[in-house]
Amino acid sequence: MLPLTALLIFGLAIGFSILARGRAVQVSAGKLASLHSRPAYHGLYSFLWVLIVGLVVLIVLSVGWRLWLDAQLMADIRAALPDAPIIEHDLILNDAKAISDGTLASRTGEVRTSIAAAYGSGNTLRVWVSVALAIASAVGVGFVTLAKISPDWRARNRSENIIQVILWFSATIAILTTVGIVLSLIFETLTFFNQIGWRVDKFLYGTRWSPLSGVQEGVIDGDKVGALPLFTGTLLITVIAMLVAVPIGLFAAIYLSDFAGPRVRAWAKPMLEILAGIPTVVYGFFAAITVAPFIRGSGEALGLSVASESALAAGVVMGIMIIPFISSLSDDVINAVPQSLRDGSYGLGATKAETIRQVVLPAALPGIVSAVLLGVSRAVGETMIVVMAAGQGANFTANPLEAVTTVTVQIVMLITGDTDAKTAAGPAFTLGFTLFCVTLILNMIALSVVRKYREMYD
């Protein structure tokens, strides 16, 4: 019913915009130039007002009424069953709604039936009143905007103002969402630290990670939430990935920008970028099924003991995944180095190698650094490859041939496990917050490096 009304309001808005255009043409009396605003702007003005007023009334009324209704019903339930726990109250309300909607309820009973009846009538009233008022206000506003149309009416400036407000609103939503996520991360992190008695050091420097092994008793054991193995595991895999990705990506970029002919470049660059389009889950099972056994096999041939899931396998495949990021971004910045700098170097009798090493790369360095740091952010945040190829054991080791685990993998394990979400949330949010801080710092460094050196060539 409500979605249908939203659609109807949209239709009304279009209708009024057409009417407004027609009216604008009519008041101009054949001389369109006498209008301050073109007819299209009069149409836009009506369209925006009808749509916004209709939708806002609909949403505010229906949502607000719903909250009020729920509060009323809860009060009734509490009055009927004062002794039952709060969770029981919630359950009764849900069942009552289910009974009223005709879906399956967990239980039926006298209280539930009476609440269901109250809910049914209240809800019907809510929906109908919301719909009626929304449509009425939309139509009303539509006619008001029509009445205002005159040659002097500044519909263009006014609709531009409305659009500016919409743009501001969108930007605000994006920012507020980010702020909300960060705040909830911080809040949950603080709750978790409170649970382990503010022993932040145990989380940061402890070496034993099995946070869920004590939760049957409902307590989190501060001695079992040492995340150091996760940090070192993440670091190990990231380092391996960057050791693969940075040289290969950078050399590929240098080849593409300074050595490859236009024809090679035309197909080689898109080919490289296809690598970036492969879903990470595909890389993951490629790592687990192909690369890990290969590394294990060659390691054993050399007499090394290699775990079947190793940091090396995950790191190498992750590095391959990151190559296109680094090569593509670096290629762009290397290409952006002006030809005049290259000419200047060649003109002094420098070889191509000297020119690239001493003139082109230093000039492109800020861009390359930010490309690498973005690659690191990707590596730190990557999950699928590590889940599949590096294992889940929280080993505190620097040996790339052993299984390790990372921060992201452990978040997945905590959230998808069959433990109570509320208990697992603490460690998961805290890990997430740590990860967020690290990537934030990396991105900030990348941005400031770029900003610091950018003005040098303009």
Binding site: S340, L341, A350, E354, Q358, V359
Partner: protein
């Protein structure tokens, strides 16, 4: 009176000078375009030679043949005979890299490297191994900056980026950079076209001083500039070398009608 004597002396000495670079029957093709047609010019030592002509006449292209800068352009093809001290610079055993160390180049737009002023100058001497130690390098840097008449302006900020200088300073920095590799010939591709009149005057003065040590070839759009700084002038038109003679001769009594028309401003 004094300047008259000087002029006569320099006129006389031109004839006595050696041929530094000689070109014979040079043709340049950009893909299918025939950009330079059968050009024969002798560049004298210790002389400023100006290439003038309307836009697109091929003077820059020809200049870039003299140190094989055209090699970096894929579609460009050069035929004919170009010699430096009698040696064919397009011979297969000549390394363009070594050639460019002997025939330096200054470009139209100042293009200092995004390095410090010091490193900009030190770049050439370092890559060519011209200096043995830091003290010698310091010496070369100072000498080059002095000869490019910019030492006094930058001596206190050698560690600051060369890109932070003004346009005229940047161009003198680029000239200093070219001098630092101790070339024998200095090619200048419209070195003043991006500069204001004062900076231009400084560069012109500098070019005149550089003549004492180098053979200078300058491409310019400005006929006044050619008349001011050069002793020999070559007039290019549509890829042809129309006329090549002493600057005085070209500007006072040209042999060719097209030269006459160009320098009197009938076209160009």
């Amino acid at each position: 009176m004094d300047s008259m004597t000087n002029m006569r002396m320099s006129e006389a000495s031109i004839e006595a000078r050696d041929i530094k670079m000689s070109t014979k029957g040079v043709d340049v093709f950009y893909g299918d375009t025939h950009a330079i047609k059968d050009v024969t010019v002798d560049i004298l030592d210790n002389t400023v030679t100006a290439f003038i002509g309307p836009s697109g006449c091929g003077k820059s292209t020809f200049l870039r043949c003299l140190n094989r800068m055209n090699d970096t352009i894929e579609v460009c093809r050069v035929t004919g005979d170009i010699r430096l001290d009698g040696e064919d610079i397009y011979a297969s055993r000549v390394d363009p890299v070594q050639l460019r160390a002997r025939v330096g180049m200054v470009f139209q737009k100042p293009n200092p490297f995004p390095k410090s002023i010091y490193d900009n100058i030190a770049y050439g001497p370092k890559i060519h191994g011209l200096v043995g130690n830091k003290a010698e390098l310091d010496e070369v840097v100072e000498q080059s900056l002095r000869r490019a008449a910019i030492w006094n302006e930058v001596k206190d900020r050698l560690d600051q980026p060369g890109t932070g200088l003004s346009g005229g300073q940047q161009q003198r920095l680029c000239i200093a950079r070219a001098i630092a590799t101790a070339p024998e010939v200095l090619l200048m591709d419209e070195p003043c076209s991006a500069l204001d009149p004062i900076a231009t005057a400084q560069i012109e003065e500098l070019i005149d001083e550089l003549r004492a040590d180098f053979s200078v070839v300058i491409v310019t759009h400005s006929m006044q500039q050619a008349a001011r700084v050069s002793q020999k002038t070559a007039f290019f038109h549509l890829g042809d070398l129309v006329e090549y003679n002493d600057t005085n001769h070209i500007f006072t009594n040209p042999d060719d009608q097209r030269t006459q028309d160009y320098i009197t401003g009938r076209f160009g």
